[in-house]
């Protein structure tokens, strides 16, 4: 890691920040400063102008019962020096108003909408409406405020459901449900595409169907139960979420995880990446109509699932993490089996991916479609293969090393073509890279325990846990409580990447829209754990013709 003094720009930034507020805490991985309400916009401006700084997440928290005010945490990442800057803004308990920074930092848009809906923070300079929650959710009831328990909330909104169902039916009786139950649906989310002829001229994301109130539920659960909740944020990359949660708690409470556990976590994370990328490639080939490719990629993938089950006890890598370590060890036998299977996967996949990429339709429909220019990718603070396909080497594994990535040399896969093909190639390449990484980790697996014996929770500590998920960076911010997390904020990669979709869809053919949307590998169950809607009303539009969902399931013909 470079030291601070070698980097003049960042030194200036640091001294500026320390000047603006005398209340700051410096920790191993972040600098936390408390900024007054009025100075927030100025700070945001300075930060957004600095090269290589991006907005990682924003968390709003109701801390009235602790210190008498609401609080906003803005987490900015400084890729080059591997540090975070956390800007804390306390807000008045009676009238929580904060200036909006969405016009300065584009990526802040959704976070502000969400904070407004779930906690009731008001943003001066923006008029926000109900997004996350149903339209007829009672006024002035904000689920993430501490005034309500989970049980209270259940009683609040049940009775009108049937009326609502009747209403929805009445509005479109003639047409097959296009909405979230779009026939090709895989997940109950959809994009409304505005088309002129066969060209897409605008897109609108309509989400929030998978909002399950996870962050609120965690407040009623014990520390050791939350990893199981976190895993179920997403069925594809669940392990990423539980690792991220555990790391956040471990950072906050300064728990030192045994080295062996760190290695095991990294191994499972990489296995998850292999399975997720193979899954994505299969679905992408299916979207391109190449079903034989889909079948063969999934045939290869199935071996990874067996590996995952062997290592974790569940096909979906569920149930391995606890705070302070992992629950299962990897013995010699499993190591050997892993290496053997991974070798055969690498061979089979190499052989097959070349064939799949030579199919004329696959080639012609991936190349040159869904362009995402580098500067747009940078300004939207995108993450994961999406941003790496646009030439920016952002990768948490290298930038903010965690688990066993600390001990190895690592180079992210980057492509500069900015199109769907670039993003596909990044993922294909990462499969091979991950296989190498797992083998490397298995080789170096150190001895020792796999979990700390015991640890004591301490209330009101702040921690950040970030993990590079298959889709990009997952970041969990935690404020600890006495028995369970006081505030737990999850930010999934799709949340950050979705605003890029309207840009990528500009002037794309309708037929290529699904693969373009899929090229960010969206995962809505991640995104909607607390949810969003995006109304980009910038483009020209004709009649909304097609609402479209992803990962189509018309598989067998």
């Amino acid at each position: 890691m470079e030291s601070l003094s070698t980097d003049n720009e960042f030194e200036n930034l640091y001294s500026y920040l320390k000047k603006i507020s005398n209340r700051f805490v410096e920790e191993e991985d972040h600098l936390r400063i408390v900024v007054e309400n009025e100075k927030l916009r100025e700070v945001a401006e300075v930060l957004s102008k600095t090269e290589g700084v991006f907005l990682r997440t924003i968390a709003a928290s109701d801390e009235r019962s602790v210190n008498g005010f609401y609080k906003m945490y803005y987490v900015f990442g400084l890729d080059r020096i591997h540090r975070n800057i956390v800007v804390e803004v306390p807000l008045d308990a009676e009238n929580p108003v904060i200036p909006s920074i969405a016009d300065i930092v584009k990526a802040a848009d959704w976070y502000e909408r969400e904070a407004h809906d779930l906690i009731g923070i008001k943003f001066s300079g923006r008029i926000l409406h109900r997004f996350v929650l149903p339209d007829d959710w009672p006024e002035n009831v904000y689920p993430l405020r501490k005034d309500y328990t989970v049980q209270d909330l259940v009683k609040l909104y049940r009775p009108e459901i049937i009326a609502k169902a009747r209403e929805v039916e009445a509005e479109a009786a003639i047409i097959i449900p296009i909405g979230p139950y779009h026939p090709a649906l895989h997940e109950p989310e959809y994009f409304e595409l505005y088309v002129r002829g066969e060209k897409v001229v605008g897109a609108r994301y309509v989400g929030f169907m998978v909002h399950r109130g996870i962050e609120k539920l965690a407040e009623s659960m014990k520390y050791d139960q939350v990893p199981f909740l976190a895993e179920r944020i997403c069925g594809i990359c669940g392990y990423v979420h539980s690792t991220s949660y555990c790391q956040a708690v471990e950072k906050a409470l300064k728990i030192h995880v045994p080295e062996r556990a760190e290695y095991i976590r990294s191994i499972v994370l990489e296995i998850e990446r292999i399975h997720s990328h193979l899954l994505w490639l299969g679905v992408a080939l299916h979207l391109l109509g190449y079903d034989t490719g889909f079948m063969h990629v999934w045939r290869i993938r199935e071996q990874v699932m067996i590996l995952a089950e062997m290592l974790t006890g569940s096909r979906k890598t569920y149930g391995l993490n606890i705070v302070g370590g992992v629950r299962r060890d990897i013995d010699r036998d499993k190591v050997n089996k892993c290496v053997k299977v991974l070798d055969s996967i690498a061979k089979e996949f190499k052989e097959f991916v070349e064939i799949a990429m030579s199919v004329p339709q696959v080639k012609s429909r991936l190349r040159g479609t869904g362009l995402l220019p580098r500067n747009e990718a940078a300004s939207l603070s995108l993450v994961g293969p999406t941003v790496r396909g646009s030439g920016i080497p952002r990768d948490v594994r290298r930038d903010y090393p965690y688990a066993a990535y600390k001990y190895i040399d690592f180079k992210p896969v980057v492509r500069t073509e900015c199109d769907n093909m670039a993003r596909t190639e990044v993922r294909v390449e990462e499969v091979f890279q991950s296989i190498e990484l797992v083998k490397n980790f298995l080789d170096r697996l150190p001895g020792g325990g796999i979990a700390v014996d015991s640890w004591e929770p301490e209330p009101y500590r702040f921690g950040i846990g970030a993990v590079e998920a298959p889709r990009g960076e997952v970041i969990h911010v935690i404020v600890t409580g006495r028995y369970s997390p006081y505030r737990w904020r999850v930010r999934a990669p799709t949340y950050q990447n979705l605003p890029a979709v309207p840009i990528m869809l500009r002037d794309v053919d309708l037929a290529d829209a699904p693969i373009t949307i899929a090229s960010i590998d969206p995962c809505f169950s991640c995104t909607d754990r607390a949810l969003i809607i995006n109304i980009e009303k910038s483009d020209v539009r004709d009649v909304p013709l097609v609402a479209l969902s992803l990962k189509g399931s018309r598989l067998l013909r």
């Binding site: 149903p134 689920p143 989970v150 049980q151 909330l153 259940v154 909104y157 459901i161 049937i162 609502k164 169902a165 929805v168 039916e169 479109a172 009786a173 003639i174 097959i176 449900p177 909405g179 979230p180 139950y181 090709a184 649906l185 895989h186 997940e187 109950p188 929030f208 169907m209 998978v210 909002h211 399950r212 109130g213 996870i214 539920l217 199981f228 179920r232 944020i233 997403c234 069925g235 594809i236 669940g238 899954l279 299969g282 889909f294 079948m295 063969h296 999934w298 045939r299 199935e302 699932m305 569940s314 096909r315 979906k316 569920y318 995962c523 169950s525 399931s553 018309r554 598989l555 067998l556």
Partner: protein
């Protein structure tokens, strides 16, 4: 224009239903409905279509429109926001209307059974569906988190009567 039913609900008798079930045995078209699941079960559903499990060997085919479907594969705890859409999709399924509730979410609400944003599984909404005039002719519950591909196949087999269901309510004295 309005939906025109050539076979109104009333005259769809028990006997017709059994006959139709017999025919369906050889060719089952399924429609996949996600009501807010974590994607785990959904991926396993796709997995059963792919070479290792290949449910086409039972004549099962995944279709894209609820109008073509015989069986609805339902995953997820049914979030409040998806319920109206669930009703709409189920109504579009012609009788006999069969549902395979897959995964702990759809069966018992899983970890979010008491969350403010979900209805906690399919058993909780059956009454509401009946109230809205939607009759479900047969339901099979497939627990699992996620339900592994074999478990889904087993669920289909139970639905078709190929195998006898194994689980029974048990009460043991300690």
């Amino acid at each position: 224009m309005e939906i025109q039913r050539q076979v109104p609900v009333e005259i769809f008798s028990r006997k017709d239903l059994e006959k139709a079930l017999q025919r369906i045995k050889k060719s089952i078209w399924v429609f996949h409905l996600n009501t807010g699941s974590c994607n785990g079960c959904d991926i396993e559903i796709i997995d059963v279509l792919t070479p290792w499990f290949d449910v086409e060997r039972f004549g099962i085919k995944l279709v894209a429109s609820p109008r073509h479907a015989d069986v609805v594969l339902l995953t997820g705890p049914i979030t409040i926001k998806t319920f109206p859409r669930l009703v709409k999709a189920l109504r579009a399924v012609p009788r006999p209307r069969l549902v395979l509730a897959i995964g702990s979410c759809a069966v018992g609400g899983n970890i979010w059974f008491n969350s403010y944003a979900t209805l906690g599984g399919f058993p909780n909404v059956i009454d509401k569906l009946n109230e809205l005039g939607i009759v479900i002719d047969k339901i099979v519950y497939v627990p699992g988190c996620p339900a592994r591909p074999e478990a889904i196949i087993y669920g289909v087999a139970v639905m078709l009567g190929l195998v006898e269901q194994k689980t029974r309510y048990k009460k043991v004295k300690a």
